[in-house]
Symmetry: C2
Subunit: 363 residues, 2 copies
């Protein structure tokens, strides 16, 4: 059975009212608020049919109606209009994004925090997963027992490690190793660093002290680290604002699920190229723990043809419209800053003193 225009209006009214109040919505309330000129009795008939069709349900016989996941889905797909952000909101987001231009990892955890603050739901952010390689090695000789390995990655981030040795080495060996690593270890992936490669490098450098393998370990470590996307979850406690999580056990279950990570979001490549915001409603989620929650996800361009994700978790009675608008804007802003695969250009006009934010890394 096709759904009539009026039914749509009524469904939208129920969803919106329910999102607002978290109470089952009765026929009377709709007759008054939704501006269709008919009485509550008519609405009742329509409501009964919407229940039959599976869009609504009743907690019990004499109660108002509540949207089913299918009802929310219909709302999100056809009925909802994406909320426009006010000028103040866009300004605020932009400004806060601008103050967070730091190292990528940090940026993205800040963005997660920002998303959570803006929406008042728990939020999470995933860094892009990309085939990073090392572009260039430098070894800084500090003293006979100490050197620093600096590796510049293909995504223009830089990693370093201070190494202290129980034995002394000479600068010549370091120079040799530096050249060899730049020749043999750049542009390759983690699994191309084979014991064979390491051994031959060791021999070529006349390294009898195992330094080659220390450097190789470092290479493997940073490559494997860069491979995996990182997840940041923030604001789990905001769940407690929602009436559906007033039961501490329920809240705790979801919160601890959240805090264990980023399995929550589907792999980023699912979202490749999609500028849209994606909504997963209740049972549409794969994870058992999320079956009665909803997730809203936006993806951002992290440069290098990779995409990262920002998501928000809440009850199915989530304010989809507002959340989608905010996430979408946030993701777009982030894309603008990270996209293009290049590190931000350091302008000459930099303020001399770049103040960081509060150093709080709450987890």
């Amino acid at each position: 059975m096709a759904i009539s225009e009026r039914k749509k209006k009524i469904l939208a009214a129920v969803v919106e009212e329910y999102i607002r109040t978290a109470e089952p919505v009765g026929s009377k309330a709709i007759a008054q608020t939704a501006g269709l000129g008919c009485s509550s009795a008519t609405i009742r008939n329509e409501l009964a049919e919407l229940v039959n069709m599976g869009y609504l349900e009743q907690p019990h016989t004499s109660a108002g109606r509540v949207p089913t996941p299918m009802g929310y889905r219909m709302y999100v797909n056809e009925l909802m209009q994406m909320q426009k952000l006010s000028l103040e909101e866009t300004e605020e987001i932009n400004q806060r994004l601008n103050t967070k231009l730091q190292e990528l990892d940090d940026t993205i955890s800040q963005v997660s925090r920002l998303a959570s603050q803006l929406t008042d739901y728990p939020a999470l952010a995933l860094t892009a997963q990309s085939a990073v390689t090392i572009k260039r090695f430098d070894i800084i000789y500090v003293d006979a027992n100490t050197f620093i390995i600096v590796a510049m990655m293909s995504n223009n981030t830089v990693k370093n490690k201070l190494v202290r040795l129980p034995v002394s080495v000479n600068e010549g060996l370091m120079k040799k190793l530096s050249a060899l690593f730049n020749a043999n270890f750049t542009g390759i992936s983690e699994d191309q660093i084979t014991p064979l490669l390491i051994n031959s490098t060791e021999r070529a450098a006349d390294d009898t002290m195992g330094i080659t393998s220390v450097i190789a370990s470092f290479a493997i470590e940073i490559l494997s680290e860069a491979d995996k996307p990182m997840a940041f979850v923030t604001g789990e406690n905001r769940l407690l604002n929602q009436p559906e999580y007033r039961d501490p056990d329920k809240a705790h279950r979801l919160m601890s699920y959240l805090s264990t990570g980023g399995h929550i979001l589907p792999p980023a490549d699912n979202m490749a190229g999609s500028e849209e915001v994606r909504v997963l409603i209740g049972p549409e989620n794969v994870a058992e723990e999320l079956k009665d929650s909803s997730v809203v996800i936006a993806s951002y361009d992290a440069g290098d043809n990779t995409r990262g994700l920002i998501g928000v978790v809440g009850p199915t009675r989530m304010d989809y419209s507002a959340v989608a608008a905010k996430l979408s804007f946030l993701a777009a802003g982030l894309s603008r800053r990270l996209g293009g695969g290049e590190a931000p250009v350091e302008g000459m006009h930099n303020k001399l003193i770049i103040k960081g934010d509060d150093p709080i890394e709450h987890r």
Copy 2:
């Protein structure tokens, strides 16, 4: 009035039973469990006096007794015996500490997580606050528009920054700047980097492109960052396991207070030199939000004569003995690894493949 031996035993029994069950403790229960050979009636008399003395209170006339903050204080100071950790527990902690030997920031956030897991309370960790200076600058010339600044700090951490310029520079200038920065910017504090110093360096280097000020900005940035202690809070959600936080509003209040940071712990220098675990019970806390919670804090030697903190937050009915033992052990283990002011020595026996943990940075 001095407190008799028997009263002490009874008080201890009440506290321990209450910690265990979270229910007011009656005279009968004590007569049975605590092995003093007297009847419940005698205990009742003693209990009444303990109430008078302020160590216990009754939620209402016909209920059992509950310790007051003063009662807990007495318990912690005189009655409690520090719980010994089992061999398995110490092994587990040691092992998990060993797998976390990474960059300092990361280590300490991992330690916070570990503390929370071990105790099942929210935990927080503060890095040491110390007068860090830059020990050595290196500038890696990548190409005409790109260079990497590498700064080695006095605490043997290394910071880097990739700089991309809209104009091109030559390697000679970089060399000059590198030498100048090593001569003039090492061993000094943030506020000694004056515009005057920057200007004179700029002139000495014949730098007409403002690169000096970019590097100086970086120096200021990392110095001011290193100055501030960083706080990591983890496992806020474990609060929900505690019956005293079953009220979602109460839980939410405390959780959001926690997640905003590290004001919770007193400055680390308060604890300087103290190997002991410190306990703050209910109203002893300064922050209004903590007035009916307790905090247990241990300090660790972060090297360089500085100390960082690990703390745990819970209801006043916290298992002080167990928590104190665990934190103390954890702090000692951490001290062993960080203490002495030197970065860990990279052994030659390193496994080739150093696997990181799960990349989850939940927050």
